[in-house]
């Protein structure tokens, strides 16, 4: 009986091994373990085995069953695996074929820079506000302490609509609107378009600025310098270097101009930065107390500072845009590069 069992096992394993598909494997299973199967027959006829051998033969038979079942399972899995990999091989695609569906467009680089800058400012506690682009002489000049005889107030430099209404030449008009409408302390930032009577190869009559203004008790030049340091690092990376030059703006005193490592050449010196390795990014300064007073803020109690970058140039430099006119030409060959 033992020999018989061993023969069954041997035959079964051989056949299983020879099976090429699931169907023949199932046939083997039926032959051995099915109702009419060889092993089933033995188990069914246990009664004919002498009492003393029954236990041994029983466990032997169960062992054979287990081994056959395991072999069937294993072979089945391997056959399935083989079939799957075969069918997958047939489904193989040329991965270099073009994708299907809508191809993403792009934001204008000015918008991207704007958003980055606003994010930085908002995170530092600034509120983004916007205001009129067509404004009165008062908001654009007078209330910003720009003297009556300043060249900017001549028709030649600004685009006027009437004697008293013009297209703002600077987002600084928003300083005045903010100071009139908000109660200190506040921090605001105003992105927007500004207009000049200027149109040549290196100037656009319309360009973009930011105006940031902080009014509070106890703010001064130190806060401005520390804040700008953080902003520059977030804008251009931790390695950016900053250089300060005293400057003149009628609405700030002291006034400074802030240069940062030229982003075109990373400070190596190029034609854009005239070899200095630095390019101008912000005008800034402590708000002139006259300006605070004109807008009804007590300059004895409050002080403030403002800064405003002209962003078109920064956008050009950070994106290596060769010509300022690209920014408003809307040529797809340019826009597509901004994806």
């Amino acid at each position: 009986m033992k020999e018989k069992l061993e023969q069954i096992l041997k035959d079964a394993l051989k056949e299983i091994d020879e099976c090429a598909d699931a169907k023949s494997l199932d046939e083997v299973r039926v032959q051995v373990l099915g109702k009419q199967g060889a092993l089933t027959a033995i188990l069914r006829n246990m009664r004919e085995v002498p009492m003393e051998e029954r236990k041994e033969v029983g466990s032997l038979a169960n062992g054979v069953r287990e081994k056959v079942e395991n072999a069937l399972k294993k072979r089945g899995e391997s056959l399935e695996e083989k079939a799957l990999s075969l069918s997958m091989e047939k489904e193989k695609v040329d991965i270099t074929m073009p994708s299907v569906g809508v191809k993403k467009g792009a934001l204008h680089p000015l918008t991207r820079f704007n958003n980055k800058f606003m994010d930085i400012c908002v995170a530092m506690g600034f509120t983004v506000i916007q205001g009129p682009e067509i404004d009165t002489d008062y908001y654009n000049f007078e209330a910003l302490n720009v003297p009556k005889n300043h060249p900017a107030r001549d028709m030649q430099d600004s685009l006027y609509i009437t004697d008293n209404i013009l297209l703002r030449t600077q987002t600084s008009n928003m300083q005045v609107h903010a100071m009139e409408e908000l109660k200190p302390p506040f921090k605001i930032v105003c992105p927007g378009r500004v207009y000049r009577n200027d149109d040549d190869s290196s100037h656009s009559p319309i360009f973009n600025q930011f105006e940031a203004l902080v009014v509070d008790e106890n703010v001064g030049l130190k806060d401005l310098m520390k804040m700008i340091d953080v902003i520059l690092k977030r804008l251009f990376g931790e390695n950016v270097k900053m250089r300060v030059r005293p400057a003149y703006f009628p609405f700030t005193e002291p006034s400074i101009e802030i240069d940062a490592t030229c982003q075109m050449c990373q400070g190596k010196g190029c034609s854009l930065c005239k070899g200095t390795g630095f390019s101008e990014v912000f005008g800034a300064g402590v708000v002139n107390p006259k300006v605070l007073e004109m807008s009804g803020i007590d300059s004895k109690k409050y002080s403030g500072f403002a800064f405003g970058p002209g962003i078109d140039r920064s956008v050009m430099v950070t994106n290596k845009i060769p010509n300022i006119k690209y920014l408003f030409r809307n040529d797809m060959r340019f826009l597509k590069q901004m994806r």
């Binding site: 467009g105 934001l107 400012c121 908002v122 506690g125 682009e133 008790e217 920014l327 408003f328």
Partner: protein, 798 residues
């Protein structure tokens, strides 16, 4: 402004290199934009004397010269015809790299060696104005008195370094050598040397020779003096060198003196030919309309009441502050002169200068501002120079007509306030030293800082000004390594975006995902824009720019579409295809014209598509998806936009009846006006309105336990029947069981009949309480069909 390094050294003993000085000036507020070394192309050139000349044996036109260059004797071969034995000439030797790019090395001329070359004035970068013979077409023959062997840059005083300095508008006092010298003295804490203002006179009285009458308010001061027995020669070389380095052409002693004072003191001057001053009278007045004057640049200008002139008894002789007339200028035959040393209104000079397109050293300085007290020392300085150069005899007395008196100012500020502005505390001793070196005469008593600014520092008015003076001299570097953070002593504020920007950015990003590109266009456009867009409503009332740059930029936009259509036109013209653009921008609608109050500025998001196969419904899908995230309840109606195709466009109407946007195909006539030969789809949204809506809120209903069932129907209707009408009817007929309906097919064919179409719908049904039976479903479908037939004569398609 060009400033000579050597000139600065007249006033301050500078002991740093030009580069160091330049960077120090830059960080203190006087940006040095360029440093020029006069001797850059003058090395290896010496003063030499031709001791012997003989003809080259093999070349007729060449001369072999033996030349003494001090420490050695060299041989130079020349073809120049103006040299002679004994001539003192500039000799360039090996290594020289001349102004015209010629590099010198020893050469062989037909077997005879030449160690270098004689130089012309041009090769040394100078001309006849600078030195006699400097402009001749040949070799520069130098004065015999020159020291043989001396470097040419020293011999000709071309060893200066010139700084091009950008002076800010608040510091007109620094449009002068003396002004910059004062800054340097403060920067390095070096004493400022005394300037010699002394001169001697020859008696008589200026008032016997000339009178001055000021008839305009635009001339707060006019000073004049009279010099006779003029000696109009070339000025001395050192004098010419100063002018030359500063970019001014030397002419003769008197003219040079006026220019010297202009550069040194920042005070423009004029010298009249006394003989040609009719009536021996100077009248400062506004020009008469139509008055003409011929001036030194060779042109004649017509003036009006806004211009100011200096006139004699008969005619204008100078355009005040700008340029002198030919009728009274100093010429070689001038015997006596009147010096003008005046102050003119800066705006008047600037406007006249701009109007006639003439910018001079004088007009530039007047435009930036000359102080009422500046002429006092300046005129003295000019007279001193007349004396020094022996240019003439100075008659006693100075005429001084002034209408403004400058008083010594003095004010106090708490020093603690200055500290607060700076955020740092500068040592008190250093504070006083800086302020006093700037001439501010400061004292500090406890916390009280008193300053007495000189007349030329009108810009110093308050603590902020003092803070600026201190920190720009002390150095902004101090902040680099300062401990602490920004806003340590101030209030915490919470940042936020303007809601419209947040909304706009959401839409922008969505559009980018749909394959759109953002454009930016000028908000100014041509006055013809509305006409091209067939617009005949209030948007026609565009704001006009009073002084436009060009017709294309002459009005402020009331419509976004114009620029986007031009963008499409441009892109098609350069071969770009599949154009999908959007732009967020403003339109500016006046309340009334001409403008008396500020116009309304409204924010718009516009979309333009020119793409093969694009259609109305693709754009509709974009619009629906943009609006789904808002709380807007809207309906679509046929659009009334004049520039859209009336049959293929829709207006988006909000619940309150306001039109908040529109979209559709561009009108064929408009396309023609823009010369675009492809279909263009366009949309616009009022982002001010949409971002002002309250945020969309959600109230979720329980999800049904039972599954939806679907049934398809296809009905044949007349063409006029709309999908909207049919789906509304289906919804109504389904009642509570309605769970959705989708149009999935449209079919037209001759067999359906003329003017007929077949629409196929998938109807979704759901009973919240139980699974629907087939009978129930069939009953609903039947009801739907009956309703469609009753309302729209719809027939079930076989």
């Amino acid at each position: 402004m060009k400033v000579s390094y050597n000139w600065l050294k007249d006033f301050v003993d500078i002991d740093v290199s030009p580069e160091v000085l330049a960077s120090k000036l830059t960080v203190s507020g006087f940006e040095v934009e360029e440093i020029t070394y006069q001797n850059e192309h003058l090395h290896d050139v010496y003063v030499g004397k031709i001791t012997k000349m003989e003809k080259h044996k093999d070349a007729d036109k060449l001369q072999v010269c033996t030349v003494d260059v001090g420490d050695k004797v060299v041989q130079i071969i020349t073809s120049a015809t103006n040299v002679f034995e004994g001539a003192v000439v500039p000799v360039s030797l090996e290594g020289a790299d001349l102004c015209n790019g010629v590099k010198i090395k020893p050469t062989n001329f037909r077997g005879v060696k030449s160690d270098g070359m004689f130089c012309s004035g041009e090769e040394l970068g100078i001309d006849e104005n600078y030195i006699e013979g400097g402009g001749v077409n040949g070799i520069l023959i130098l004065p015999e008195s020159m020291k043989i062997g001396e470097k040419i840059e020293d011999a000709l005083m071309l060893n200066d370094v010139v700084f091009d300095i950008n002076v800010t508008p608040n510091r007109p006092d620094c449009n002068s050598v003396i002004g910059i010298a004062r800054e340097i003295s403060a920067l390095y804490n070096l004493p400022l040397k005394e300037v010699d203002y002394s001169y001697k006179t020859c008696g008589e009285d200026v008032n016997n020779f000339v009178s001055v009458e000021v008839q305009t308010k635009k001339c707060p001061r006019y000073m004049a003096s009279y010099i006779k027995d003029l000696n109009l020669t070339r000025s001395p070389l050192y004098f010419r060198a100063r002018l030359f380095a500063s970019g001014i052409k030397p002419i003769n002693t008197i003219v040079d003196i006026t220019n010297y004072v202009l550069l040194e003191q920042g005070q423009p001057m004029h010298a009249f030919d006394y003989e040609h001053l009719a009536g021996k009278k100077i009248v400062v007045r506004d020009a008469k309309k139509g008055e003409k004057i011929s001036v030194l640049n060779g042109n004649t200008y017509e003036l009006d009441e806004n211009d100011m002139v200096i006139a004699d008894a008969e005619r204008p002789v100078v355009i005040a502050g700008v340029i002198g007339g030919v009728n009274s200028c100093v010429t070689p035959s001038t015997k006596a002169t009147v010096f003008e040393c005046a102050v003119f209104d800066l705006k008047s000079v600037r406007l006249t200068s701009r109007k006639i397109g003439v910018s001079t050293d004088s007009s530039l300085r007047y435009s930036k501002g000359v102080y009422v007290n500046t002429p006092i020392n300046a005129l003295k300085r000019a007279l001193h120079l007349v004396d020094e150069l022996g240019a003439g005899k100075i008659v006693d007395g100075i005429i001084d007509k002034y209408s403004v008196i400058t008083r010594q100012r003095s004010f106090t500020e708490p020093m603690s306030k200055v500290d607060k502005i700076l955020g740092i505390k500068i040592e008190r001793e250093r504070v006083l030293q800086i302020l006093n070196s700037l001439g501010l005469n400061a004292t500090l008593t406890n916390d009280t800082l008193r300053v007495n600014p000189p007349f030329y520092r009108e810009d110093i008015e308050c603590a902020n000004d003092i803070a600026e003076e201190l920190i720009r001299i002390y150095g902004y570097d101090v902040y680099n390594n300062l401990e602490g953070e920004a806003f340590e002593n101030s209030t915490v504020t919470v940042g936020a975006y303007e809601p419209r920007l947040v909304f706009e950015n959401t839409l922008k990003n969505q559009l980018v995902d749909y394959g759109f590109y953002e454009t930016l266009n000028y908000s100014l456009y041509s006055a013809t824009a509305c006409e091209k867009l067939l617009i005949n409503d209030e948007r026609k009332n565009v704001i006009k720019i009073a002084n436009p740059i060009s017709e294309e930029l002459s009005t402020v936009r009331t419509v976004m579409a114009h620029a986007l259509l031009l963008d499409i036109k441009f892109n098609l013209s350069v071969g770009n295809k599949n154009l999908k653009f959007f732009e967020a921008g403003r339109v500016y609608q006046p309340k009334a014209l001409p403008l008396t109050e500020l116009p309304m500025e409204n924010n718009r998001l516009s979309i333009a598509v020119c793409e093969e196969g694009y259609d109305f419904f693709m754009l509709k899908n974009v619009m629906e998806n943009l609006l789904i995230s808002t709380s807007l309840k809207y309906k679509l109606v046929r659009s009334t936009e004049p520039y859209l195709h009336s049959g293929v466009s829709a207006d988006i109407i909000a619940g309150d009846g306001k039109k908040v946007g529109y979209f559709g195909k561009i009108h064929p006539k408009v396309l023609k006006n823009y010369d675009i030969s492809h279909d263009v789809y366009y949309a616009e949204l009022d982002t001010d309105y949409l971002s002002s809506l309250k945020e969309k809120t959600y109230a979720v209903k329980e999800v049904s336990k039972f599954a939806e069932v679907e049934r398809d129907i296809a009905v044949v209707v007349d063409e006029e029947v709309t999908n909207g009408e049919l789906t509304f009817a289906i919804k109504s007929a389904c009642g509570k069981l309605f769970a959705g309906v989708e149009l999935f097919d449209i079919y037209r064919s001759a067999s359906l009949g003329e003017n007929k179409k077949s629409l196929a719908y998938k109807i979704h049904l759901l009973n919240e309480e139980k699974t629907m039976t087939a009978d129930e479903i069939n009953a609903v479908v039947k009801k739907v069909l009956k309703s469609l037939e009753f309302r729209y004569k719809a027939k079930l398609r076989a």
